[in-house]
Each structure stands twice: as C-alpha cells, then as structure tokens.
Symmetry: C2
Subunit: 337 residues, 2 copies
C-alpha cells in the first residue's frame, strides 16, 4: 500500500508535491502530476482515511442511529428500505455509513458522544420517538442532522404524508360502503402514528361518521402480535366494525390473523387496509390493501437534506413531506349487508 512518503521517495518529489498532485492542485505541472499518479497506481497507493480526516476535519462518514425503544433494530422492513435507499444516495456522494451504538469499548456513552468520537460529518436518525433523550441530544447538537419519520421544527425532517394516508384509507373504505370503520393505531408517542390517527379522525368527521367507543384502539409498536391483540379486542366489541384501518402492515397482518382465527373472512366479513406496503403485503392471503409509503423517496430526500447541510456547513430545518399512495389489493371489499 504505502504512504505519500514512499511516493515521494520513488518519484523524487516532496510529499507536498505528491499530495498536491494526488489532489489535483493547480500548482503542479502536468508532467510531474502524471509521474506521481502513475507511481501511485503502480504501488496500489490508497490514502489513509484517518489521516485525511484528522487533517481536513472531514471524515466522509455519516452516523446512523436507530432507536432502541422498539427493539426492531434494522430488521423492520420499512426502516430497512429507507436505510437502503439512503445508503445508495449517500454512497454516490462518497459517504460511508457507520452504525454506532451506545457502547464503546466498555464505556457507556450517548449516541452523540459516540458520533463525536467518530467525528462523523452528519447524522441520520431513523425509527425513533420524539421523546427519546438521545434523539433530542442529537438534535440539540451542532452536527448536521436529518431525522426520518418524525416531526420536529428543530431540525430537518422527512416523513410521509400520514394525514393524507389516514384519509385515503378511510375514504376508500367509505366508498366500498363501510360505515363502521375502526382504527388500530400506533402508539401515541410516535409522530407517524399520531398523524394517521388524525387523518382517520378528520376523514371520519368529514364523512359525518361517528367513531364509536373502542373503535380507536392503540396497537402499540407496530408488531404483528400487537396488531393481532388489538383486533381481538375489536372483535369483542358489541358492535363489531365492518372495516378496519391499521396503522402498519405488520399490525394489519396480525389483525387479519385474528380475524381468521375468529372464523371470519377478509374481506367478506371485515375489510382491512394496512400502512407501509412492505414487501410481504402482496404475498399474504388475502393480499393486503395498504397505504404505500415511498421509502425510495424518503431515503433520497433525507440524504440530500443531510448532504446539503454538510457541504454548506450550516444547519437547515426543512420539513419534507412525501406523498403516499393507496394500493388496493384484496383485503378490502364492498360491505356485505
């Protein structure tokens, strides 16, 4: 591999000139530049990123933080898809992602500390809840940051148009003739869940549909199991809904399971529409009607928002709302009399 010192020795130039040649400075002649570049190629020279970072105070790394609240890590298909898209976008610009945790060689430390230690150029936080102390700390810091799927005016954020999403779902069900529409919501601590609730409420209100007691139920943290439980509660209601809008696909899948286990059919007895459009949605039985979040866009926008802050060396607080689509499949159907 070798260093610029080796290169200097070989070519007979100073390390200064070598460095300049490698970095395309204008005050080095084409001829010597060619020589040096050639020598570098010959010996398979690669600059040491740490030395570069130390010297330039730019590490070309982006720290990514997952909340540990809901123990999903990077396993959740939705967040996972976002990260993948984010990664592609940032990679193209030359950034590497580093996944940091709260522990560093036995020392317990905050995410911020970890990121400071690693001297990342920027931070992306995925899958978090507003209240998380660590997230707040990150937002308060001076490191460029973008947070996904959360609402805040203190930093750049990008999330889906969850309000419209809720409305889309309810309207779809309404058009199919449903009037008894329940909502299995995400936990209230999650902005996205909250907005979907709001969308649901607004839509119901606009359609002049009452929300019976118990029709708005907390499904927790979007897991299949919690969705199933919530649905069971719903099924036990005196006046059972004919349709249910579920704030996440995994929960929706759980809900469908509960329905099936109760001896009912989807969509003949109960229609269900999910949220996210994770890959599996189109493979469960029946195929899930759902509100699609554009993970591709979300990831890209987040990347752009972050990189812009990094290169311009100033924090900006943009709120980027990505539109959603309703994907109609087979878990919703006309209400049966």
């Amino acid at each position: 591999m070798g260093t610029i010192y080796d290169l200097a020795k070989i070519t007979g130039f100073s390390i200064t000139t070598v460095s300049k040649a490698l970095n395309n400075y204008s005050d080095v002649s084409e001829k010597t530049k060619a020589k040096i570049v050639q020598a570098a190629a010959d010996m398979g020279y690669l600059p040491n990123a740490h030395a570069q970072s130390l010297s330039t105070k730019r590490s070309w790394t982006i720290g990514v933080m997952f909340s540990e609240a809901n123990e999903v890590g990077m396993m959740h298909p939705f967040f996972n898809a976002i990260i993948e898209s984010f990664r592609k976008a940032t990679e193209q610009q030359g950034y590497d992602l580093i996944f940091a945790s709260r522990n560093l060689r036995n020392r317990d430390m905050s995410y911020l500390e970890h990121f400071q230690h690693r001297a990342v150029d920027g931070i992306v936080v995925i899958c978090s809840d507003q209240m998380d102390k660590h997230v707040q700390q990150l937002i308060q810091s001076s490191i460029p940051i973008v947070v996904v799927d959360m609402d805040s005016t203190d930093c750049s954020v990008v999330f889906s148009d969850n309000l419209s999403g809720g409305t889309l779902a309810v309207n779809h069900l309404y058009e199919l003739g449903h009037r008894l529409i329940a909502h299995i919501a995400g936990d209230m601590t999650i902005d996205a869940g909250l907005a979907r609730i709001e969308g649901y409420k607004q839509a119901m209100d606009r359609l002049a549909l009452p929300i019976p007691d118990g029709y708005l139920i907390n499904g927790g943290f979007f897991s299949v199991e919690e969705g199933k439980q919530a649905m069971q509660t719903l099924l036990a209601l005196p006046k059972r809904p004919t349709a249910v809008f579920v704030a996440g696909d995994q929960m929706a899948i759980g809900a469908m399971e509960a329905i099936h286990e109760a001896g009912l059919r989807v969509p003949q007895d109960i229609s269900v529409v999910g949220y996210d459009d994770i890959e599996m949605s189109k493979y469960v039985t029946p195929k899930l009607t759902t509100v699609r979040q554009d993970t591709e866009q979300i990831g890209q926008h987040a990347a752009n928002l972050l990189i812009e802050q990094i290169v311009n060396k100033r924090r900006v607080m943009t709120t980027d709302i990505i539109p959603v689509d309703l994907i109609v499949r087979q878990s919703t159907g006309p209400v049966t009399p």
Copy 2:
C-alpha cells in the same frame, strides 16, 4: 469537546500524562489520574477516533460487504437478521460497522481498496457468491475476514448445515407419505443452494425415491417471483409432485402463490416446505413449514471468529457449521390418495 492539549493545560500536566491517565497506564499516580479524569468529564472530552486510529493502527471498525449480484442489499430478511446479530455481537466488543461500497468520491474502486482506505480492522462478507471477484480479492488479502453463507477453505466461514436441512425437509415429507417430492433449488452458483440440493438428493436416494425428470428445478436467486415461476413449471409437469421442498422461504411463498393460482390447495393438494424461517413465514397462509436457520447463532459465531483473528493478529480458517431445525407448520400435510 477539546483535546488532550486542553486537558493538559487545564490540569497542568503534560499531554503524555493526560493520555496515560486516560488510558489507565500504571505509571501515573491515582491522584493525578483522578484529577485528569475529572477534568475530562467536566469538559466532555472525547478522544478523536481518527487520531487514535492513526496512532495505534487500530480503527475499531469492521467493514461489511454485501454482494451486489442479487440486488437485495440489506433488504433480504435472512441476511438482514444475520447482520443485526453480528452487529450486536461486535458492538459489544467496541467495534462499529461501516458499510462500504465500490465508489469513493467519484473514484471507482474495489471493495478491498475501499476497506484499505478506511483501514478497517476486519471484514465480514455477507450474501455473496463464490465467484465474485471482489470476494476473492478480499479473501486473498491479509485483512482478517469472515464470510457468511459460503463455503471456502481459504478463510473462516460460517454457514448453516444445509445438507442436513435438505434431508430434514425431505424426510419430513416422506413421513407424511409423500413420494413425489420436487425441489425448487437456488442458483447453482450459491453454495448454500448447492448444499441443499445435495441434501435433497442424498435423502431421496436414501429413501430409494427416484427423482423424476424436471423435479429438480432452478429457482434462481431466491425471490418470490422466481419461486412462483419455478412452481408453475413444476405444475405443468405430466406427473405433478405432491410435495415440494423449496430452498428459500421467499421462493416458497411464491410457490404457494402459484399453487393457489392454479386452483390447488396447500397442503391438501401439494405440501410445501421452505427454508430460512423468515419472520413472515408464520404469517402467510397457510403458515409455512420450513427449515429454520439460526441467524442469531450465525451472526454471533461470525463475530467471534472475526474478532478472534483481529485480536490475535493472525488469520485463521475455521469452518463453522450451524445446525438447523425443521419447523412444522401448516403448509405440509399427509399425502391425499
């Protein structure tokens, strides 16, 4: 944040002593160590990782490589689960993961070059095929490495006992009375797929079951779509199988879809057993019988194997085979006469 120079100024000691105090050297008195540590805490001092790496030639980072062959990236639930488990294990030891790609600030470079540039302490490669030039290059290099889900004698590897897996599946079907057992295989370039084929063949042989023409079919790169297509081919066979062992859950889900679309039922008409036990397996209809791979173990073992090489500064070539389990659910049933 500050540096050790600041700390030196504040406490009145030299940077040498500061550094030693922070690193628990024995030749600094308890009293001054206490002072320095206190001052460090007060100012929120954090060591700069790049400076440390530069000086110690240890970066406490591990590079992870995904093959780009089958465009799944980190989206595939199986590899994803492995990485997650790997991450937890390495984090605990103080390592951060860095996801590198083949491009670095416009320059096109190999994975090896990228990792050398970043000066990672070790490399884990996930989701690859034997033939990949980049993987080979990594294996040839002198950086500690472990590769997952691939067989090789040139480096440490960890993968599931795919041979037993294939056998397990076939025997299970046999016990249910099936004699016409087909296999939707993964592409032959993938070691794991190859081993499962071998397991299938051996089991069939041991049971004295012939493998009719067309019963062993290539399902490509484990996608739902490819599984579906393979199953359609199988269904078009003159003598249709009563059971099929599929080399991956996603393919199996596709296969079930094909079966359903053909107006047949699982398992009454055709039994199917998958491979992997991805999370969705227990939520599709019918719930998928499958060979479970222990992603938790795989990730941990990979982490241990890698870290051992890093700390002992010598490459070792261990082959670590992780046992698999058959998870019987509802996609398999007794053959119907």
